[in-house]
């Protein structure tokens, strides 16, 4: 699948930075994990004393790139220059020595330690900490003063608010005299006012000459804080442009992409009776973040409801609650007018018995037992159904094998070996194993999450056709995908999730990538709804 991203509208100047003011220069950085190219041929130059934003979907390769920069991974190819000098960064210590500081999305703090101890961790210097602590205290207080980042150094880190913990992370980097700060999704866990405060701090850091790279998928933040911006998609990086020369609409469109146009031949849906009704669904995770906010929607037999949205906006929670794998906070789910159990006692196998199939978002963790052979995986979850069972608790392994042979044939799963562990198949064929299992049970409602993530084109086409075939045979389909093309080509109706709430609903044939992209990015809702 070739991807070309070009931010440059005609007449937009590309960023040209003279060599003397380049803080960091990446050349041709590539990194593969097995057959997956997480980064391919990435070039990036960031000017000293500027804030550069990198936007892109989850899985676009942003975190891999930053991990290479910070020494967690080593690149297969390419070079890193800092202040014009080539650096070989083999581990985080090298990165720190080169003046790079990183604020991770999930903080790397020891919760029961005091703030002071967290900041000096790894830089203890002496066997006895007293002197280090005293020196550190003076230095940190000076830093906090300079950048207006007051925090109680003797507080227990775990008891601080998320915003303050992030401040500790930034102080930690500054204490190590970082000149280049990398912030990975820094506002993902912050309240709006905390985010505003963070931006003020970043502004101040920039004024003091620090260079900052900020990774995010929130376009508003890019527009508000960055000087230059580039986009990552499927492992590739666009050339940088000046933020002031672009606008959120263009960024949104580029971010969600429009490279692969896979049109699925389908007739107009003929929806019938209502199969699923979700009413006021809410859920709050263990950290107290509300992941679903008053979700209400319906799906009828013979229609595909697409759920669009940037990953992490509540899709996983929605899918797992409907599949009975996760309890909801409040709300009601009706399946053929009868309530589904969405409490802690919900059982996925009960859902299956009632005709609800589930192609999970993560086939590696959920959909397959990877060391299991294909014939064991093709009955997984349905193994207690009478067709796979014999008396006295035995499994009907003869039938399981025949069934697997049959499924491999009909879904063209290769290599055709029912005894091969699922781990040994390619991503596309693994996904076909999951699809074959779920679709073949002829569910009345099928919950589908990211059906073609990491799947080759041939398998994508096959899976798309199967989804439409199920719809035409009268199944209700809930399709969650971050690929807008997929949503648009398969769905009859589309709802868009942002921050756990439905921010828009569209007829699939009356919308387009631009329109949905804007809804997903949460910009200019009024304007978007006109389009």
């Amino acid at each position: 699948m070739s991807v070309s991203i070009d931010l440059q509208q005609p007449g937009t100047p590309a960023v040209d930075i003279p060599e003397s003011s380049r803080m960091i220069e990446l050349r041709d950085i590539s990194k593969s994990f097995g057959p997956v190219k997480a980064n391919s041929g990435i070039d990036l130059i960031v000017e000293r004393g500027k804030i550069h934003g990198i936007v892109g979907e989850n899985g676009a390769g942003k975190s891999t790139l930053m991990s290479i920069l910070y020494g967690f991974y080593s690149a297969d190819r390419g070079s890193i220059e800092i202040n014009g000098k080539k650096k070989n960064i083999k581990n985080p210590q090298d990165a720190i020595a080169a003046g790079i500081g990183m604020v991770h999305q999930h903080f790397m703090l020891v919760a029961p330690f005091s703030v002071l101890d967290n900041i000096i961790l790894g830089e203890e210097k002496n066997f006895i900490l007293k002197k280090t602590r005293e020196n550190a205290r003076a230095k940190i207080n000076a830093l906090a003063e300079e950048y207006e980042m007051q925090v109680d150094l003797d507080a227990i880190t775990g008891e601080l608010s998320v915003g303050l913990q992030q401040r500790v992370e930034i102080l930690k980097a500054l204490y190590r005299e970082a000149d280049l700060l990398i912030l990975d999704e820094p506002t993902g866990v912050l309240t709006p006012s905390e985010a505003d405060h963070l931006f003020r701090i970043l502004d101040m850091l920039r004024e003091q000459g620090k260079t900052i790279i900020i990774i995010t998928h929130k376009l508003r933040e890019i527009m508000a804080i960055t000087d230059t911006v580039s986009i990552m998609r499927r492992g590739k990086m666009s050339p940088s442009i000046w933020t002031k020369d672009t606008n959120p609409k263009d960024l949104a469109t580029l971010m969600v992409g429009r490279d692969v146009v896979l049109k699925v031949e389908k007739k107009k849906a003929k929806p019938e009776g209502e199969v699923l009704r979700v009413e006021n669904l809410n859920v709050t995770n263990a950290l107290g973040v509300q992941k679903l906010k008053n979700l209400s929607f319906t799906i009828r037999a013979g229609e595909v409801l697409g759920v669009a949205g940037v990953a992490g906006n509540g899709q996983t929670e929605l899918l797992e609650i409907l599949a009975g794998m996760m309890p909801a906070g409040s709300g009601q789910v009706l399946y053929f007018d009868e309530p589904l159990d969405i409490s802690k006692r919900a059982k996925p196998d009960q859902r299956r018995k009632r005709g609800i199939g589930h192609i999970p978002e993560d086939r590696h963790r959920r959909g397959l037992v990877k060391p299991f052979k294909t014939w064991e995986n093709t009955a997984f979850g349905y193994h207690n159904f009478p067709r796979y069972s014999k008396k006295y608790g035995f499994a009907d392994q003869k039938f399981m094998r025949e069934d697997a042979t049959d499924k491999m044939e009909r879904f063209d799963i290769r290599p055709r070996n029912i005894n091969l562990p699922a781990a040994n198949f390619s991503g596309g064929n693994q996904q076909k194993i999951v699809c074959a299992r779920e679709i073949d049970q002829a569910p009345k409602l099928i919950l589908i999450g990211q059906p073609t993530r990491g799947v080759d084109i041939g398998a994508i086409e096959f899976i798309h056709k199967e989804i439409i075939r199920m719809r035409d045979e009268g199944a209700a389909v809930l399709l969650i995908s971050v690929e807008l093309d997929e949503i648009l080509s398969l769905s009859d109706r589309v709802i868009v999730l942002l921050d756990g709430a439905i921010v828009g609903e569209r007829e699939a044939d009356k919308t387009n990538v631009n329109d949905l992209g804007l809804l997903m990015a949460g910009i200019e809702e009024k304007e978007a709804s006109n389009g």
């Binding site: 599949a323 009975g324 794998m325 059982k347 996925p348 196998d349 009960q350 859902r351 299956r352 589930h358 999970p360 963790r365 959920r366 959909g367 397959l368 037992v369 990877k370 060391p371 299991f372 064991e376 997984f380 979850g381 193994h383 207690n384 796979y388 069972s389 006295y392 608790g393 035995f394 499994a395 392994q397 040994n424």
Partner: protein, 368 residues
């Protein structure tokens, strides 16, 4: 791409190579204390396999290790490390003693089944608390089963001394069981098929076949039943098992109950088969050897039976050594056991990783 070595290398060649290294190092140690490793090895094999009475002792130990090894393996398939086989078997010893003391005026055909059931119930019961704590509270099974071992030791000591002790003889043990709790030993079973004259003191007994049946049953349970399928799925990927609707609580508790019951069965062999009474320590470390046996047998019943036999040979051969080679302490056997566990278990990757590299390179060379 297949980056795994084939099963025959994994299950047969690798353990054999590890064993060879263990034996080689043992040989060096024997050499260093001034004995000839080959004649020591010969004496051990002679005394543990070739001499009929020695073989009987070996099979007696094998019985014990098969059962404790199976116990570890079943829990392991559910991704749990049951270190508590020792305590579970010890408590099961009380169950065996109760059955034997109550029924030993009848016939062993009545006593043995009752004793087996009681031993399994007692063993399973002792595994239930750690299982419950793991399933419901997340208390780590390794920690809780170790603690339960100590508690078992104290509880069994109390029961033997204050409840079941034979006050006439005065030792800290029950009275000797009567005829009705004497299960058939090798000599009895051989005379059924017309071979007389085998030593009556050899403790190998009918529970050897119980152990073999248990091995077959475990095979069917793990690889043929839906419960075993769920146990393996949970053990390999708990997140996938949750997706399939398998309750982790159910799997953890059932797997541990089966594990405890298997460990408990072992007590029939030692309490009724050998000692014919219950003393303070009816298990004597066999629960721990079961861990090594399961490790070496790759948690597969066939491997466990073979590994149990190997450990039986080592233990019996070691006992034999102390007769023929007074200079060589029988503790040398503990050294061998330790080395076997070290090389087969802990240092498994030492050979595995080079072998995987070798295999992949070979495959690549073939393709090219």
């Amino acid at each position: 791409m297949d980056d795994k070595i084939p099963a025959w290398l994994d299950v047969i060649v690798l353990p054999l190579m590890s064993l060879m290294i263990a034996f080689f190092v043992t040989g060096l140690i024997v050499l260093s204390i001034g004995a000839n490793p080959f004649s020591v090895a010969q004496a051990m094999i002679e005394g543990a396999i070739l001499r009929p009475s020695g073989l009987g002792y070996t099979l007696y130990y094998t019985t014990t290790y098969i059962l404790t090894g199976l116990a570890v393996a079943v829990a392991f398939h559910a991704a749990m490390f049951n270190i508590g086989g020792e305590g579970q078997a010890m408590v099961a010893g009380v169950g065996v003693a109760i059955a034997a003391l109550a029924l030993d005026s009848t016939h062993w055909m009545i006593t043995l089944p009752v004793a087996m059931i009681l031993s399994m119930v007692f063993g399973a019961f002792w595994a239930l608390l750690p299982a419950y704590l793991q399933a419901k509270r997340g208390s780590h099974i390794v920690i809780t089963t170790i603690m339960m071992n100590f508690i078992a030791s104290a509880v069994v000591g109390y029961i033997v001394i204050y409840v079941l002790r034979d006050n006439v003889a005065g030792a800290n043990e029950t009275r000797r069981f009567l005829e009705g709790a004497h299960i058939p030993r090798a000599s009895d079973m051989l005379s059924w098929i017309g071979i007389d004259g085998y030593s009556k003191s050899v403790p190998m007994n009918i529970t050897f076949f119980v152990a073999l049946i248990a091995a077959v049953a475990v095979y069917y349970l793990i690889w043929r039943t839906r419960l075993g399928y769920e146990i393996r799925a949970f053990g390999l990927s708990s997140s996938a098992a949750q997706y399939a609707g398998t309750s982790p609580v159910k799997i953890i508790i059932i797997a541990m109950l089966i594990s405890g019951a298997l460990a408990g069965l072992m007590a029939n062999n030692s309490v009724m088969g050998e000692q014919v009474k219950l003393g303070l320590n009816p298990v004597n470390g066999a629960g721990f050897i079961g861990i090594a046996v399961a490790l070496m047998g790759r948690n597969h019943p066939v491997g466990i039976v073979l590994a149990a036999f190997l450990f039986g040979v080592l233990v019996q051969g070691g006992a034999e050594l102390s007769f023929s080679y007074p200079a060589v302490s029988r503790d040398i056997v503990d050294v061998i056991k330790g080395l076997v566990i070290l090389f087969v278990g802990a240092l498994d990757n030492m050979l595995r990783i080079p072998m995987e590299h070798w295999w992949i390179n070979r495959q690549k060379a073939k393709m090219a």
